[in-house]
């Protein structure tokens, strides 16, 4: 124990002076007890508490606060800790000579500090892990069921619109066609052009070895028109517009705009979902056709540069090759279905947003992942279906 009278316990900063008189151990706090000094003060309090364990039992301790210059909540909390530790060591602690302003602060802090600590729920790592796996699996199931239900709701709304065509929101429809279609043209054009170039280049390298250069046109035509054009366009639009749908509707959800619609007797599906879906059903086939043409143009350019196949030859070969109108049709047929899936997933995730900005972000991610996944799965199903139908 700090035995002799007037021992300075602060590390040169004079925070606490420990003395003994005939009746009690006197701890006189002085100087600045605030957040700036909280580090060393914390250590000081712990040291004093340790010393107190040695022989405070049954003793009286006076906490003299007359020398305090400044006190804030952190200082008050540390004094509270000190008093608690001393009391737990068996001492009877009295706080004396505090200034009124300090007393008010101590009172406020000590009352809050005496509130019970929150109860922590115990969890085990393995249990948590299994729980998360199970929850993930059941969430996927729920999401699938919800998406199918949402599709049903959209169909019902569309049915209502067919009966009452004036319910269709012309302005919103045009707006979304512009934003999902027209605004996607530059990026889509660039990407598909490059894909055409790469495909032609790789094809030409291989076909030249067997002297069948001209078949690079067939390769390009078939792969672009049947698969690559529709699929890549759908994936880009899912990333571009599907995510935008989720973010727009999600933000409206956060602002309670969707709630406001419901209270005004407006149907969010009719106002928000249907125009987006119809717009995408118009825009995606157009974009796909554009993407196909650009990819072929890219391929044609590469064929000319590498193999000396002119644009005229390229087009003629496209016409006489094994390619027929079905191949173009098969590719285009898929796109409205992709549009429905992308719009549906985007809007559905948007409507699932709950109250916070974070939820908008996570739902947007979810929407893109889900719609790309569904587009690729559907594309595979289409392939199987068409080969079954011998298209």
């Amino acid at each position: 124990m700090a035995g002799s009278a007037g021992t300075d316990l602060g590390d040169g900063e004079n925070w606490m002076v420990s003395t003994h008189d005939e009746t009690a151990w006197v701890l006189a706090a002085c100087g600045h007890w605030d957040i700036e000094a909280a580090g060393p003060l914390g250590a000081l309090v712990e040291r004093l508490a340790g010393e107190a364990l040695g022989g405070t039992a049954g003793r009286r301790v006076r906490l003299d606060l007359s020398g305090l210059v400044a006190l804030d909540t952190v200082g008050a909390l540390l004094l509270f800790r000190l008093r608690r530790e001393l009391a737990e060591a068996g001492g009877s602690v009295a706080v004396v000579r505090a200034k009124p302003a300090h007393l008010a602060l101590l009172d406020a802090v000590w009352r809050a500090a005496e509130l019970p600590a929150p109860v922590r729920r115990r969890t085990s790592a393995v249990g948590d892990f299994l729980f998360r796996i199970g929850k993930g699996a059941s969430d996927i199931g729920h999401a699938a069921v919800e998406l199918i239900a949402f599709f049903g709701v959209i169909c019902v709304t569309l049915g209502r619109i067919v009966i009452q065509p004036r319910r269709i929101r012309g302005k919103a429809l045009i707006y979304h066609i512009e934003h999902t279609g027209l605004h996607a043209v530059p990026i889509l054009g660039l990407l598909l052009f490059l894909i055409g170039v790469v495909l032609a280049y790789q094809g030409a390298e291989q076909l030249r070895k067997v002297g069948a250069e001209i078949f690079v046109v067939n390769l390009l035509g078939l792969s672009v028109l049947r698969e690559i054009g529709p699929l890549v366009t759908a994936i880009i639009v899912a990333g571009r517009s599907g995510s935008a749908f989720t973010a727009q509707i999600g933000t409206m959800k956060v602002n309670q705009e969707v709630d406001a619609m419901l209270t005004l007797g407006l149907d969010p599906v009719e106002l928000l979902v249907v125009p987006r879906m119809l717009a995408l059903m118009v825009a995606l086939p157009l974009l796909t056709f554009f993407a196909n043409m650009v990819a072929l143009a890219g391929g044609s350019l590469m064929a000319y540069l590498l193999l000396d196949i002119s644009a005229g030859q390229f087009i003629a070969q496209l016409q006489v090759g094994p390619l027929d109108v079905y191949d173009v049709l098969v590719g285009m047929l898929k796109t409205p279905v992709f549009a429905v899936v992308i719009a549906m997933v985007g809007c559905h995730e948007g409507l699932q947003v709950t109250g916070s900005a974070e939820s908008v972000g996570s739902r947007t991610t979810q929407s893109v992942v889900e719609s790309i996944f569904l587009v690729i799965v559907l594309n595979a199903l289409f392939s199987i279906l068409f080969s079954f139908l011998r298209f």
Binding site: D34, I35, A38, G39, G42, A70, L71, D72, T73, V74, L77, R81, A101, H102, A104, L105, D107, A108, V109, R111, A112, A113, L115, P116, A117, P118, T354, G355, S356, A357, E358, S359
Partner: protein, 259 residues
């Protein structure tokens, strides 16, 4: 740290302030003094720029002209480090709490402490717990996310975060808006208690006449792009038409009776 306002110790001095949005000037040649330890209420009609004034003082908006001196520092001339140091001496409660929605209440309160101090995590936890308790929230609220709280609880949690670093000045933007009268009274009471306990200076934008009557020492009215300063009684005697209809309208009279 005296709780009573001291006459010549100004924590905020605004001189000749002008703020504008494009062509539109919000304040012109505005002066304002806030003394240490007082609670000042900023009132004014909607659109007169009360919140803009608050944002200018805390440095979220750059004034077009004039000087703003907070705690002895001219805010326009501060370097990055000094500005940050000054910001730590000011706590701000935004209208709906502005809690970070990805963090729990406890994490929200801990954040300024972990970012700006070198304290031990255990001490930070305890400080956060105390602050949450001081604003009158249950311990059960600490692990919750803001979206799970009511409006009043979010405000209290926002206040706990604003108080995390023991600020000298507390800025409140419409602290009682959207609270029921009982919760609003309790919040006023809380601000009053904290102000005495912590020796705070409170800068409060409000519409609430009851708050003005209950806890404000002085009232600054934003009127005609400038400030008219007074107490509830002195402003009630003014002849400006807006002041007359504000303080002597039915709500104003009710607050006067209650106050």
């Amino acid at each position: 740290m005296a709780a009573s306002p001291q006459q010549d110790d100004f924590v905020i001095r605004v001189r000749g302030l002008e703020t504008r949005f494009g062509e539109n000037s919000v304040h012109q040649n505005l002066d304002l003094d806030v003394r240490r330890g007082e609670v000042i209420g900023i009132v004014g009609a909607s659109g007169t720029g009360k919140s803009v004034l608050l944002k200018a003082v805390i440095g979220l908006i750059r004034p077009a002209a004039g000087s703003i001196v907070v705690l002895g520092h001219d805010t326009a001339r501060l370097g990055e480090r000094d500005r940050r140091a000054l910001q730590q001496r000011c706590g701000v409660l935004f209208q709906d709490g502005a809690l970070f929605s990805s963090m729990t209440v406890a994490e929200n309160v801990r954040l300024p402490l972990t970012e700006h101090t070198m304290l031990a995590p255990a001490l930070i936890d305890e400080i956060a717990r105390v602050k949450i308790g001081m604003v009158g929230l249950d311990a059960e609220a600490a692990p919750k996310f803001p979206a799970e709280l009511s409006g009043g609880m979010r405000k209290r949690a926002g206040l706990a975060r604003a108080l995390a670093l023991d600020p000298e000045i507390l800025f409140l933007d419409e602290p009682t808006a959207g609270l029921d009268p009982i919760a609003a009274t309790a919040f006023d009471q809380l601000i009053g208690d904290l102000r005495h306990g912590l020796g705070l200076t409170v800068f409060m934008v409000t519409h609430d006449l009851d708050s003005l009557a209950a806890i404000c020492d002085r009232i600054a009215v934003v009127i005609d792009k400038r400030i008219m300063m007074g107490t509830l009684d002195s402003l009630r005697a003014e002849s400006h038409p807006w002041l007359r209809s504000y303080f002597n309208g039915p709500r104003g009279r009710a607050a006067a009776v209650a106050g």
